[in-house]
Symmetry: C2
Subunit: 225 residues, 2 copies
Amino acid sequence: MIKLQDVRKTYQLGDNRVEALKGISLSIESGDFVSVQGSSGSGKSTLLNILGILDSYDSGSYTLNGTAIRDLTQKQAAHYRNRFIGFVFQSFNLINHKSAVENVALPLYYQGVPRRERNQLAMDYLDRVGLAGRAEHKPAELSGGQAQRVAVARALITKPALLLADEPTGALDSETSAQIMQLFRDVNDEGVTVLIVTHEEDIAAQTRRTVQLRDGDIARDERLE
Amino acid sequence: MIKLQDVRKTYQLGDNRVEALKGISLSIESGDFVSVQGSSGSGKSTLLNILGILDSYDSGSYTLNGTAIRDLTQKQAAHYRNRFIGFVFQSFNLINHKSAVENVALPLYYQGVPRRERNQLAMDYLDRVGLAGRAEHKPAELSGGQAQRVAVARALITKPALLLADEPTGALDSETSAQIMQLFRDVNDEGVTVLIVTHEEDIAAQTRRTVQLRDGDIARDERLE
Ligand SMILES: Nc1ncnc2c1ncn2[C@@H]1O[C@H](COP(=O)(O)OP(=O)(O)OP(=O)(O)O)[C@@H](O)[C@H]1O
Ligand SMILES: Nc1ncnc2c1ncn2[C@@H]1O[C@H](COP(=O)(O)OP(=O)(O)OP(=O)(O)O)[C@@H](O)[C@H]1O
Ligand SMILES: [Mg+2]
Ligand SMILES: [Mg+2]
């Protein structure tokens, strides 16, 4: 499903160079449940953004389900993302002037799903993250953890083949975290490939394989089951 | 230092009423080190925003160092905040077009501190949170945990009497979390009153008193030392 071969990514800022990824090689089978850990600044979000076709890489190769992901047009990149990938952003990236239910329904709107059906599904997914009672709230009218859960619901609603989640339980207490992890297990059982970036050991322990990043390199990659 | 007496806060959204705080009474002595825990949506940020004079409350009373905090003008509220309070926001609230060092220096700019001195101090505080090497990066060029640490540095630079931090280690791995908690212990030793909202048990365990919110009420308030 995912094949990264010696992927490098460097940010250039004026005279400064930040080598965020220093040659990452990683293979992930369809249906796996993987966590990516590492300290703040180690390259986790950078890696996830490349996997999510949200950002380019400088060298090496990235193949997603047999397709080489390289030099895509904006249109092609958007096409693959919408059809294939659900992404939970580290800072949620909700639309501020839209309600929770409108935010969750948005990917279906882009897929041309009729209004009644997409709103129904959106309410359904909001309910799955415990937020049926917050459907009409805008992001500024939600708590941090509620906004995070709206972002999770939005990432799942298109039933993507690949779910990429950047610290999806970062703003959640232990009970709500457990609900979200159960939801991820459920979709993984249904065949979704799940990759979670997390800095929490006990969240990583609930996945089946964990990859540790250190300063842009893979320091460790081991099965947990 | 802080005295809340039966404080209530309700959000009105169209026909919906959300009773975020249902009568909170809380006294905090100067120099204490307190954590506030509770599940997602239990009212922690709402409480902190009221304490930080960022939001109003509907009934009850809030006295800060002997001053009744009620019906303040925008100007008075800003005055108390700038002189007295350091605030770490749950979503950081950094200025996107300013660099990390400019963001950290900003409160001193508002206090009229000369340019050279405030930049020196800002670099000093960035170093204390491990980010001297990221001074020129803008928020979009920082990792999530780096942005969080910039927000922490900015809250501390005016040496406030009261530090209010909303999930200040939420985006941090265990090692970086430990550095930030040590920094909070250091400023607490220097006499700063510290109140941390956290959903992490092991962070709360490092404070001297913990308050548990449940659905807008205080469910538990106990000393840990
Ligand atoms: N502006 C608003 N309008 C309406 N409801 C709001 C508003 N802000 C917050 N709420 C609601 O008030 C409740 C308390 O919110 P608050 O942000 O204080 O929770 P919290 O304890 O900080 O949660 P979290 O741990 O998820 O950050 C939530 O249920 C939320 O939906
Ligand atoms: N646009 C950018 N320009 C320059 N440097 C960047 C940019 N984005 C990220 N970086 C740097 O690249 C490194 C990796 O960032 P990344 O966001 O991948 O870290 P992370 O592992 O997700 O950290 P965290 O756990 O704090 O979220 C960091 O040191 C960061 O400062
Ligand atoms: Mg990150
Ligand atoms: Mg909150």
